[in-house]
């Protein structure tokens, strides 16, 4: 027996929940970044699942788009984290609460 579309959507929802809670709970900028990647991946499962069950390539194409956005986000986000670390010697987001300097 094949798993139904609902089980893929449930997996996606559970992973998204874990990622969202992680973004709230983590104080480390890199940890938050990884949780955001997890949320993007959770959405990708939904895309691929619908693409499989409706037999349409569009969903998988948009997964490709999400991946390129995630790659751009990784480059820019880690650049920002390094620039922030250089100024504050910390990657704690609580230290990024000032709009000065």
């Amino acid at each position: 027996m094949e798993p139904s579309l609902a089980s893929y959507l449930a997996l996606s929802g559970i992973l998204f929940t874990i990622g969202a809670v992680g973004v709230i709970v983590k104080r480390n900028a890199i940890g938050m970044f990884m949780c955001i990647e997890l949320m993007l991946n959770a959405v990708n499962i939904t895309f691929v699942g619908f693409s499989r069950f409706y037999n349409d390539s569009t969903g998988q194409l948009f997964v490709f788009m999400v991946m390129s956005v995630a790659a751009a986000e990784a480059a820019i986000g880690l650049g920002i984290i390094i620039a922030f670390f250089r100024n504050r010697v910390s990657v704690d987001v609580d230290d990024a609460s000032l709009l000065k300097n």
């Binding site: 998988q60 751009a72 480059a75």
Partner: protein
């Protein structure tokens, strides 16, 4: 058979993601995240999407995670500190998690009741041929925009991570004179 594999990889993905959030050390979190990505690549194979599975391993588990682990080791990060200010965020996190889980349960129930959710036996959507054809005919503009976005990301990352360039240029000019 497919069901057993699905539950195996889904369990692996969920367990690894919980470990990722739980670990205080960012390096352990990163390694757990690689486990999530590999498990998801296996699930894409189960969904008859070999191209996406390959790209998942190459881009996510390869490129992005290498970058993340590089930065973690470069900055020599220690363990995550306990929440000192904003302690109420734990409460917010619990409520958000509960709300999202309830929504997931609701969607699961709504979808499982709808008829016509059987996958067709012949899955042609995941073939690289079909994806490539769609990519370069129907969706050419989004693909081009994604290319421009990646170029912007390259330039932005270079601008963000340079340092003391002004001084270097002046030094260079002095040396030239």
């Amino acid at each position: 058979m497919v069901s057993i594999l699905f539950f195996l990889f889904a369990g692996l993905a969920i367990a690894c993601s919980i470990l990722m959030v739980y670990h205080k050390n960012p390096l352990y979190s990163a390694i757990s995240l690689i486990g999530v990505f590999i498990a998801l690549a296996c699930i894409y194979v189960l969904l008859a999407a070999p191209f996406i599975a390959a790209v998942q391993v190459l881009v996510y588990a390869g490129a992005i995670m290498v970058l993340v682990i590089f930065v973690i080791m470069l900055l020599n990060l220690e363990e995550d500190k306990q929440l000192t200010r904003l302690r109420y965020l734990y409460l917010v996190g619990v409520f958000l998690g509960l709300a999202l889980l309830v929504q997931t349960f609701f969607i699961y129930h709504a979808v499982i009741k709808t008829p016509n959710q059987k996958a067709e036996q012949e899955a042609t959507a995941g073939l690289t041929l079909n994806i490539g054809r769609a990519m370069f005919t129907e969706y050419l503009l989004p693909v081009e925009i994604a290319g421009v976005l990646l170029l912007m990301a390259i330039v932005g990352a270079m601008i963000l991570s340079r340092r003391g360039e002004q001084v270097k240029i002046e030094e260079f000019k002095r040396r030239e004179d």
